[in-house]
């Protein structure tokens, strides 16, 4: 009969520490630099999702019960406000439709691309991401509902953020207030272009690299400029709350608050932006390969257009 040796110890703790630390560092590099482990993440999240839903259940139930007992008065008041809002928005949306059709006609004349988002997927915010180091939320729509990485997310006020990781049934949205999360923006009043960058913890937005001489004031509104091809143009991003112009610095220091209720909404809309499909993220390595192949094939045989030209 096989018997285990009396003193089985295996590698020493220090050897194990070295091995597993190196493994952890390799995993971190693979995830951060090369995004190589998205499948692992997806697989684990598929298993975790039902468990997380189950653990969120008590809290959900409590808040539902709380909702149930909200007073009649409050509901009536809410309803009145919402009805008024619907009427206001109805007028605005009819005008917008007119403008959009005019815009489409003009665009067709100029043979350019339509850049309006036409579909959206309404998603419910399930919870904040459990990570004190970043500002992300989890919504209840995922790959199964047609979401993909990079799609813009808005609410009634403006841009909320961008889908950064997609699971099968949930997705992670990085808020525009996350540190270094940037959005190409344009000043409504004079069309000044800039890039807004999240500040991190205090929920404000920084607009760097605007010259101190630029025409910009408190209360100015930044909307998306649409030049990135990800965010459709014209969505509200931020309102400027402080402009500091110091002669000692080349750039003005501009701080804004996000136009959307970034931290306090329950439903958001993920824009399934058709423009995003027409501006893919450049695959530089792939392009180079393709370019090389095309150059090679062109060298082998002349383009057919060149042959036919003399006859016609």
């Amino acid at each position: 009969m096989y018997q285990e040796p009396f003193f089985t110890r295996g590698p020493s703790p220090l050897a194990r520490l070295t091995f597993f630390s190196l493994l952890a560092i390799v995993v971190m590099i693979a995830d951060h630099r090369f995004r190589a482990l998205d499948t692992v993440r997806l697989a684990v999240s598929v298993v975790l999702h039902p468990v997380e839903r189950a653990m969120a259940l008590p809290g959900d139930l409590a808040s539902r019960v709380g909702d149930y007992f909200t007073s009649q008065d409050k509901l009536l008041a809410d309803n009145r406000v919402l009805e008024r809002k619907v009427l206001e928005l109805a007028a605005a949306s009819q005008q917008a439709q007119l403008l959009k059709s005019e815009h489409e006609r003009l665009i067709r004349l100029a043979a350019a691309n339509d850049r309006f988002a036409n579909q959206g997927i309404v998603a419910e915010i399930i919870r904040d991401a459990r990570n004190p180091f970043n500002r992300r939320i989890i919504v209840d729509k995922g790959m199964a509902h047609g979401l993909r990485g990079g799609l813009p997310v808005i609410d009634g006020g403006g841009v909320v953020g961008q889908v950064t990781a997609v699971g099968t049934l949930t997705s992670e949205v990085t808020l525009i207030t996350e540190k270094d999360q940037s959005v190409p923006v344009m000043l409504v009043r004079n069309g000044l272009r800039a890039v807004s960058v999240g500040m991190g913890k205090d929920g404000t937005i920084d607009v760097p690299f605007i010259p101190a001489s630029a025409d910009i004031r408190n209360g100015d509104v930044f909307v998306t400029s649409g030049i990135d091809g990800l965010y459709p143009p014209g969505l509200a991003v931020a309102t400027i709350t402080s402009v500091e112009k110091n002669a000692a610095f080349q750039f003005a220091r501009i701080i804004g608050t996000p136009a959307s209720g970034v931290d306090n909404h329950r439903f958001v809309m993920v824009l399934n932006n058709p423009a995003a499909a027409t501006y893919p993220i450049p695959d530089v390595a792939g392009e180079e390969r393709k370019g090389a192949r095309e150059r090679g094939s062109r060298a082998q045989r002349p383009a057919p257009a060149n042959i036919r030209k003399p006859e016609q």
Binding site: P13, V27, A56, A129, R130, P132
Partner: protein, 178 residues
């Protein structure tokens, strides 16, 4: 301990090993607690229950739970917390290593002294996470972050009492020997 005292240094070697269902059951329950929808300040000061239970088993059942298990659990935590993969892994592996090295020492201390050691280990793991996140360019989330290892150390007696509960350790009735 006086010279010539023949009482055992620790009763631990005399104790039968914990059944696997208790070891993994406790880890699973800790994972569930970690997966509650925490946010805001409670999230910041929340002790890492998974790491706490992991340390407990690394000290008490070193043959079952070691750095490999810590690594695997950490990857699950990374996905759950939408953190960079491998971030918890490094912290957990270092913490488990410290628990393994300090194991014999921890086993002969009183509960309060054990909690101090565990608090130190938890602090190291929090510091590792903080270091990695600041290398990624994230902001310091607040001094309250360091309440987490302190609260964790205060929970150590609780974890110890629950997981060492004798009734859990009895074999299930069907296989009980007559």
């Amino acid at each position: 301990m006086a010279y010539g005292d023949l009482s055992p240094i620790s009763r631990e070697p005399m104790r039968p090993p914990a059944p696997l269902r208790v070891v993994f059951g406790a880890l699973f329950v800790a994972l569930l607690i970690n997966l509650l929808p925490w946010s805001g300040t409670p999230l910041l000061i929340r002790p890492d229950f998974v790491l706490l239970v992991l340390l407990f088993w690394a000290v008490h059942e070193p043959r079952i739970i070691g750095q490999g298990m810590g690594f695997a659990l950490a990857l699950v935590m990374d996905v759950a917390d939408s953190a960079l993969l491998g971030q918890h892994a490094l912290a957990y592996v270092i913490a488990t290593f410290l628990a393994q090295v300090l194991r014999l020492r921890i086993l002969q201390l009183t509960v309060a002294e054990q909690a101090l050691h565990v608090g130190g280990i938890l602090f190291v793991s929090t510091a590792v996470m903080l270091l990695l996140n600041s290398m990624l360019g994230r902001d310091f989330p607040g001094v309250a972050l360091f309440l987490s290892p302190i609260l964790g150390a205060m929970l150590w007696p609780v974890v110890r009492a629950v997981t060492a509960w004798q009734k859990l350790r009895l074999p299930p009735p069907t296989t009980m020997m007559r």
